[in-house]
């Protein structure tokens, strides 16, 4: 660690096939369904840089609402060279078990965010909501809905993303880091495909499906 501080500006962005993700736009999923994502929120825990210069904490807990555009978080860290970014998708178990009444409105964990399952005393980790149409050429109003909400500690997943090039944080300078979620990959991985027309509801009552979605969400991420 080189000691003097620099700034890291963490951008958490969502894309669809490489283009900026916009809610409620029409897309086609891997199974060629028409799909409209009307809401996308997610929690990230323990986001930080790691590498030859040591570790640098960027964010303990954040709630990102992609209906409001990209999330940006700025942190001062020790200058140096970093090679990877680590994060947890969801709310870290100890925070997930904390009492939301202790967080004021505006805090990511405030109960006012509407992300807390009061019946299970825990937070929803990813909230992925929208509509679909099995007719890829359909033009009418799309009515069937999907609502995928993951949560509970079993769904908390950590990942380390290697940076495509070393991340240099210079004293007094600002370094841009982009954590990208490819929403078009939220419904498949190399080994699994989720058919949104039949597997479209997850509200804490279907752990196997929630874990499959979690795997898709995590594997959709990249560092730029």
């Amino acid at each position: 660690m080189d000691g003097m501080a620099g700034q890291v500006r963490l951008h958490v962005v969502a894309t669809w096939e490489g283009q900026p993700f916009v809610v409620s736009q029409e897309h086609h999923d891997i199974l060629n369904h028409r799909i409209f994502v009307d809401g996308l929120k997610l929690y990230l825990s323990d986001v930080g840089l790691q590498g030859p210069s040591g570790n640098a904490d960027l964010l303990e807990i954040g709630l990102f609402n992609f209906g409001n555009g990209a999330g940006i978080h700025v942190t001062e860290v020790a200058s140096g060279t970093y090679s990877a970014l680590h994060f947890g998708l969801g709310v870290r178990p100890d925070l997930n078990m904390s009492d939301p009444s202790q967080y004021v409105a505006g805090h990511p964990l405030s109960v006012s965010n509407g992300t807390y399952w009061t019946w299970a005393s825990g937070y929803r980790f990813v909230m992925f909501d929208g509509r679909y149409d099995t007719d890829p050429n359909g033009t009418g109003t799309v009515l069937p809905t999907f609502s995928i909400h993951t949560g509970k500690n079993d769904c908390y997943t950590t990942r380390v993303l290697q940076a495509p090039a070393p991340i240099h944080v210079e004293p007094g300078d600002t370094t841009e880091v982009y954590l990208e979620f490819a929403v078009d990959r939220f419904l498949y991985t190399a080994t699994d495909t989720i058919d949104i027309s039949t597997e479209n509801q997850s509200h804490g009552n279907n752990l196997p499906l929630a874990l499959r979605f979690t795997d898709c969400f995590v594997q959709s991420t990249s560092l730029n």
Partner: protein
Amino acid sequence: MPIVPGENPLTTPSVRLGKALFFEKGLSRTGTLSCAGCHFPERAFSDTVPRSAGVNGDLGMRNAPSLANVAYHPALFRDGGVPNLELQVLAPIHDDLEMDHDINAAAGDLRDREPYATLSQQAYGKPLDAYVITRALANYERTLLSGWSRYDRFVHLADGNALSEQELRGLDLFNSSATGCVSCHSGQDLSDHAFYNIGQYVDYADPGRERITQDPGDLGKFKVPTLRNIALSPPLHARRNDGYLGAGDRPLRQRRAAASEQKPFVDTIHFEPHRAR
């Protein structure tokens, strides 16, 4: 012993504040429903209907339970998904089938009003907020105790005149292996607070405990309800999770036997043939 967390001691100001909040309709989004709107004090803090209507007119997911002796419950709700009374407070306030509000917004609306401004300072040393509301309501609920019935005087004081001869025969049957009632409805609260599938249904619309544990073996399991004050909480047997048990329903043992044949997770309770005294 009642469960009182160390960070929320049971003090007179906190209970007084909790009591005022319990009857405060401002905890609901429309300002029309208080906790007492579904948990009537005169009904042992339960409701008279199978499922209560919330501020939007929709019915709640389950029957509103009696709050008597909730201080003794190791987990709250029929499925045990909430670990303490403080967190339980959040559920009805935020549930869109019940009060459909935001506790922080409610606190903001009530903060400067009396008696909340004064009692909140006395109880917790700060203005009313979500933390104070959850603590105070939890403490008030901890004072809702039931333990001085004729049954209690018979059992704990050996008062031979407390129960009639007919009631004594009922108690004898209740405690016998012929009925097995006491195997679940035991202890001070007439509930062991454990979770059982007693074969109410073959297919459960409400998965019960399974929703919390994700264990298929917990499908259809619900916390044993207390039998205290059950006469005050019509319809009869409303303390089932959905509140329904019509007069024409088959007896428990028949329903359990039928369900056991079709579902492996129904808990086994052995009944002996009834023997007349």
